[in-house]
Amino acid sequence: MSANLDVMRQPLGQSPAARHVRSLDILWLVAVLGAGFGVLAAFNQHMDGYEVGILIGATLSLATFGWFWRSMQGLTLAVAVMSGIALWRYGVYFGDQLSVGLEALNAVQGKDFFLKFLVSSQSAIMWMSALYVGATFTYFLALITRAEYIGRIASALVWAATAFGLTGLMTRWRESYLIHVDYGHIPVSNLYEVFILFAVITALIYLFYEGRFRTRNLGGFVMLVISAAVGFLLWYTFDRGANHIQPLVPALNSYWMKIHVPANFVGYGAFALAAMVGVAYLIKFKLGGDGENDRLPKLAVLDDLMYKAIALGFGFFTVATILGAMWAAEAWGGYWSWDPKETWALIVWLNYAAWLHLRLTKGWRGAPMAWWAVVGLFVTTFAFLGVNMFLSGLHSYGTL
């Protein structure tokens, strides 16, 4: 076997024989399924059939995901504990009460230690922001110094940031109900909320490949795009006050939002990852390609990772676009209206379809494909942000 494969001798969950089921895994399954069932039992009367289906699907997905990727188990536990603390603190002040109003909520957030400094959605999101940016610098420091332990710190920062981000979203979900029961909704409804989702999902996809490819040296590159998202989020918060929880516009008040939006952001996150791997590829390529004592993985490995990310993104983006079309059919009366957002989703899809055709069928590799992946991120960003900023249409709730 040639040396360039050494980084990936230990694939995760690749072959059944390689996996040894631990008692922890069993515990994981019991806990997740139990929690899913508990939520179902507690909120059953507030959910329609579709929402029950989505809850069951989400529970099973999380259980499976954690089974094959053990790091998810720890993350889930951390998010559960931190969200639990938030719920407990809110419970101390408000009991089972909902609709306590924004003022009462803000007052409690201002005086309770845990809420003020850790787990209210706003604090958690600030922690997330700081940790992602910190991780970016740490990864680059690790890359420059070649110090293994600094890389480990960087990974830990990303895990922590992701845990805070998810906690922030979970808590925000609760807070929306605390402001007013009518306001209550899953926090994936506007640009502010989906930027958090984007950062978290991109980080998770990266962490998955970090574990699988056994290299932390790409971390800085991927964290750059996450830091950019964090930068936007902070500007959006402090300049525009976008962090205030708003009620849903009628068109968004649908169970479809719960599946359409996350599926879309797996796509966006994977495309962003591919682009940043593309950047790493191009830098390495310009610096003379593979050498003896490289920091970055071999070009072939980068190329392969880029493909994997785009394939993953393409799959989820396809599903998300189809779900979006089905939702549109229900909300707007047509599964396809050539609305700018829809059309740009199609453009993104066509772009990556062309990329995949060239790679898989024509066997294109290397720098041109890396460039294309980078350009693809600009196309994707326009579909995600630009459409809302510059074009008017049915997706107008995403406007800046």
Partner: protein, 653 residues
Amino acid sequence: MAFLGSMNLAIILLVAVALASVIGTVLQQNQPYGDYLMKFGPFWFEVFRTLGLYDVYSAPWFLAILGFLVISTSACVIRNAPGMLREMRDYRLHAQEKSLRSIPGHAEWQVPVSVEAAAIEGRRTLLESGFNVRETRVAEGYLIAGRKGALQRLGYIFTHVAIVIILVGGVLDSRIWLALRELKGDLVVETRPVPVSQVPPESRVPASNPSFRGNVNIPEGQQSSVLFLNVRDGYVVQELPFAIEVKDFRIEHYINGQPKSYESDLVIHDPASPNKPVAQTISVNHPLIYKGYAIYQASFGDGGSKLALRAWQLLGQSGAVQDIQGAIFQDIPFSLGGQRYTLELNDFRLFNINPVEGEGGKVEQKNFGPSMVFRIRDAAGQAREYENYMNPVVMDGRPVFISGMREQVGAPMRYLYLPADRDNRLDTFMAYYARLHDPERVARAVQAMLEEINPEAAKLPAASESIRAMVGRFVEGGYDAIGTDLEKRVPAEQLQQAFETSVRVLQTVLGRMYVELLAERGIEAPTEQDERFLADAVTAINALALYGSPIYLQMTGFEHIQASGLQVTKSPGKAVVYFGSVLLTLGVFMLFYLHPRRAWVLVRENESGARVLFATTSHRKTIDMQQAAAQLRERLELRLSGAGGHPLAADHA
């Protein structure tokens, strides 16, 4: 065929569709043609119109690209699918030893056991790794052939067939049926804004039209059995086989005033089942599906709300009042001062949620209450648009009646603020305004003022005359009129000073007349609030010079009648598109996450037992595949060495 099914053509088409799609998002589609004409000018308007850029996605050239995409994709499938299906079924059981040896990464072992025993080891290894296995006898031994992930090729077929299916489904639901009617000459697009009853038969589409997507606004309590389909710069009327009645339309609001839901109570009156009208409430995201027709809550609007109006005359005999009854969509002609006008009542809004900068610069959403939009058109056909709020709105701490005005559609509104009095009414302002139009009152006030401040001048009729004229100018034309007049009479270097003096004198007169009015109303000691009223009233009178309406129209009451905006669709292609979508999803994941591989174990007897030759291939040369190949080889080696085997040769490619 080779060209049509070629990858190059496919890539070109994918990129072409993407680029063409961009045009339709940059240039807003299906706007009124007048807007395009204004934007691009006559030359480019015509060029863009010819290119079909105002409705790119229905343009023949765009449909042609999509057509080519269908043909190219179909050709691709037809060309490749048979081979792929054959490949999927085939285990390659006639692989020759020589060809196995030419596969990179093959390996060979000598095992001191029978061929049968060695074959079992080979077979087990492949089965353990998830291969489907077949075996055959060959000279002096066995060939075991395995394959896995063969369904990946089905993924290829699924995705490509799915694209064709989705596009075909899309065509079924497209405007192609209308286009065919137009082509045959059965359909003429109506461009006049006329009532439905006057739309001629050639602009109507019968209910048999297989697919459509149209809109209709139905006022509460009324029904409709037609829809409107917008076509280019006009529309056609789509007939329905049933009538939709809107019993009630409701908007629910969040506590901050934002709309929470739109709902309509519908009743379907179907001649096919006259005794069983279907009643259902629809809302956004919850349409009614009736006999394959889907009825959606798309929008809402006014359904002809009844308004109680008070017209305050501004010109001539100002202060005169007339109460009138009207309804939205009604035109009311009137004449004033020998001029003929038409009042066109256009819209009524119950809520107006506007952002207001509150304390500390914090922007808050505030409800300004009901408003109406109307136009006043003069005999020459020129119109201005107004939006008047019914109730006074508190701005900068004092209540004002707000009226927006614009001279052109699409121009930003400019606002007139008329101060409300202590009773929150318009009466005091209007009474005051009327006073200023009364020459005798003005003359008396001017005379009284002169006598008080300058008894000498009071004796000169010219002084009094010129001040009265100035007041008149202000009332008719605001400060600008005074300035214009002074420019004619005063040298430039004294203009500033003359203007300031005039304004001081004017304000004194206006103040006196205001105090007089207050006194008549029993107010002897004006408060600070009354003083601010005066300042606001003077500002308003100055602004009224630009208001351009002979009346001020105040809404005093209303009966809100809403119209529910429904979208009705018949889309036979939907099921087809959804089927294609499921196929596409399955196909995409099969394509990316199944990895077709083959493996062979050839076992041949020799003098010291059996010789085992192993080789594996995958049609994608990815890192994962190389790694999986190495793993499989190691696993086989482990098994064989357990049976006492040792490697003979290996190709470490």
